[in-house]
């Protein structure tokens, strides 16, 4: 969205093709964002406004084929229309790792095991069913690195933003359910961004969130419908177990399904993490080996919203200079 808005500003005609029936992707499912607890809408709405009536938006349209005819890309959509463009910007983003694949955590089997996305939906009031009694007492567990840094899940890379998301949600949970203690089970806490460490410290000091270094090995249901998780407190060097009233899985990034299709259609390269591979990680982060095909956002690996927006602006310039040189 941001890129298309910028490109329009620069005086190009942009067509935005969106698989879903609405704009905004994952951010639209988010309630509020790290590090400043800003409502997701506050980010999304300006982005939407920026393209309103300026950019031609094609919703719920899959790409069925892309051909190159005399220097132009002809993209045919599932809706039947064709688009002729001089350049293509791939911004397919990411899908969330399917937590069901981590069978040992029992997602989809135990009601009290949910993902961070489910929790955001709950916070934003999108799904009605109540998680816990507001006045109840008990324990909540947040499992980091679900489907990330895990060869067994086929993803060796770090999804980068889950750590801080976990910390953010831990605090929110303490706020929502004061009677519940929150435990974060992590391997490493990667507070890479500005103010992230402050959030981490606030979670500890102000909200009393307990951080346990150790990956949960398995979850199972107890006779009183709690979730018992097993782990090693690697800092105490002891195997431990604890029963929780709610378990949140911080599922990581995986390349979007749509990206795979585009990879075929445009014969693009991907890295061993299956995300798109730019020509150069430093200087040409948005360039592909294909003339006029550009990359932006999480389709080249896990990114925060801020990073994606910055990239969108960067790629807008790249594309415009490319188009200018073409004339």
């Amino acid at each position: 969205m941001e890129a298309s808005a910028r490109l329009t500003e620069l005086g190009f005609n942009v067509v935005l093709v969106e698989r879903q029936g609405r704009l905004g992707g994952h951010v639209d499912n988010w309630d509020f964002l790290f590090p400043d607890r800003k409502p997701a809408a506050n980010i999304l709405n300006p982005l939407k406004d920026a393209i309103n009536y300026k950019v031609e938006v094609k919703l719920s349209s899959e790409i069925s084929s892309i051909k190159k005819l005399n220097g132009q890309y002809v993209t045919s959509l599932s809706t039947g229309d064709f688009i002729k463009t001089d350049a293509i910007l791939v911004a397919t983003g990411f899908d969330l790792f399917d937590a069901v694949k981590k069978e040992e955590y029992g997602y989809g089997i135990y009601e009290k095991v949910i993902t961070a996305a489910d929790l955001e939906e709950y916070f934003s009031g999108k799904n009605g069913h109540k998680l816990l009694r507001k006045d109840g007492r008990g324990k909540i567990g947040i499992l980091h690195c679900v489907g990330s840094r895990d060869e067994k899940a086929g993803n060796e890379y770090c999804s980068k933003v889950c750590c801080v998301t976990g910390v953010k949600q831990a605090m929110k949970l303490r706020e929502y359910f004061p009677g519940y203690e929150v435990y974060c089970f992590y391997m490493d806490l990667r507070m890479f961004g500005r103010y992230f460490e402050d959030l981490y410290k606030e979670a500890q000091e102000k909200w009393g969130v307990q951080f346990i270094r150790g990956r949960v090995s398995e979850a199972s249901e107890t006779h009183d419908n709690k979730i018992m998780v097993k782990f090693e407190d690697t800092l105490a060097g002891k195997p431990m177990k604890i029963s929780l009233d709610l378990v949140i899985l911080l599922t990581g990034f995986v390349p979007a399904a749509g990206a795979l299709q585009l990879k075929e259609l445009l014969s693009l390269e991907t890295g061993k993490d299956r995300f798109f591979k730019p020509v150069d990680e430093h200087l040409k982060r948005n360039h592909t080996s294909r003339q006029g095909v550009f990359l932006a956002g999480a389709c080249t690996g896990p990114k925060s919203i801020a990073e994606s927006i910055t990239e969108a602006r960067a790629v807008a310039l790249e594309i415009s200079s490319f188009l200018k040189n073409n004339e």
Binding site: V100, E103, I109, Y110, T222
Partner: protein
């Protein structure tokens, strides 16, 4: 718990199971632990299901115990296994059915190894030839005996006289299913239902009318662990493992435990006696412990076989209370009598654990 979620996973782990002409490989230890089980298995397949199953007296151990005790090299194991295969081929069978979970694990591991490293297979063929002048062809289908019973669980249910239902209350029995570690831990796709939520026993329980108990330590090992048990000084670990499971399942008040491994039923059964005698702790109701069965025994009971023919008198934890629940008649007089009424002697009575 959302059973649909489990069904989704079970669908993902379906395996090919041959439906006839089996080459049966017995277990080294089961015949002494629970003599009735393998006999019952053969009887069920032959008499009830009318299958062709070859019980070959010539086959040897798969060396699994020695292998897991790290006392023989893998090459030896593979060569011995190769010989079993050649016996199977010789007998004209292609569907290999081991009775032992560890054997099943060994066979699976070996076939996988050969699949990924043909040169090893070639080497094994050579070794087998050198040592026995034998050749072999790999089984077309490898299934554990419990897979077979699983496959025909509904037929058995249909023929069955009894269901896993408490006759006094009418409620389904609460059954703990315990899967042998070597069944699908190493190769989830080789086991029915995978490794996390194996369905092989759960399936039987479902179709025989019981209710599966999903308890936290479901995945935990019974504690056999070969060396843990075989070295006397280590048995404390072994017993501790079973105890961990009992502590975890106790709140669910299970009526019985079903297993599909040689060691598990033995240890889950015997350790209840040891724990009771050592620490005065008993599980289940009225200090009688939780009766433990092999899937064959349960299948036999469902089909209405005589409990004593199934060898249930060899159990440490008394089975009578469960038989009563199931409404299965039995003659206490005959408990310790062999065929023709020959008295086989009674075991020493435990001090703490209540037995009939």
């Amino acid at each position: 718990m959302n059973i649909e979620g489990k069904r989704r996973i079970w669908k993902a782990y379906q395996k090919e199971i041959a439906d006839d002409r089996y080459y049966y490989a017995r277990s080294c230890i089961r015949q002494n632990f629970f003599p009735g089980s393998e006999t019952a298995f053969l009887r069920i397949l032959k008499e009830e299901l009318g299958k062709d199953i070859h019980d070959d007296p010539r086959h040897t151990t798969c060396t699994g115990i020695a292998y897991h005790c790290d006392v023989i090299p893998f090459e030896t194991t593979m060569t011995v296994v190769a010989r079993q295969f050649s016996l199977m081929s010789e007998a004209g069978y292609t569907n290999y059915v081991p009775s032992c979970i560890t054997s099943f694990g060994i066979y699976t591991e070996i076939l996988e190894t050969w699949h990924h490293f043909p040169e090893i297979e070639a080497k094994v063929r050579e070794m087998l030839w050198k040592s026995t002048k034998r050749e072999f062809s790999k089984p077309a289908n490898l299934a554990h005996a419990s897979d077979i019973i699983y496959k025909f669980r509904n037929e058995i249910a249909a023929k069955g006289k009894y269901r896993l239902i408490n006759q006094h209350t009418g409620n389904p029995l609460r059954v703990v299913e315990h899967i042998g570690c070597h069944y699908s831990r190493m190769f989830p796709h080789k086991g029915v239902g995978g490794a996390e939520y194996p369905y092989v026993l759960a399936g039987m329980i479902e179709s025989w009318g019981g209710e599966v108990v999903d308890y936290p330590e479901r995945r935990h090992c019974c504690g056999f662990g070969f060396r843990q048990y075989l070295v006397k000084a280590n048995r404390g670990y072994s017993a501790a493992c079973s105890k961990k499971k009992f502590e975890s399942m106790a709140p669910f008040t299970p009526d019985m435990i079903i297993t599909n491994c040689p060691g598990c039923p033995y240890f889950l059964d015997r350790w209840q006696f040891v724990i009771a005698e050592m620490q005065g702790i008993t599980y289940g109701t009225a200090g009688q412990g939780i009766p433990v069965f092999t899937y064959e025994e349960v299948a036999g009971l469902v089909l209405g076989y005589d409990p004593w023919d199934l060898g249930l008198q060899t159990h440490q934890v008394a089975v009578e209370p469960l038989l009563d629940k199931l409404g299965i008649p039995y003659d206490p007089e005959m408990k310790y009598k062999a065929e023709g009424g020959r008295f086989i002697g009674t075991p020493e009575y435990p001090e703490v654990l209540k037995v009939c």
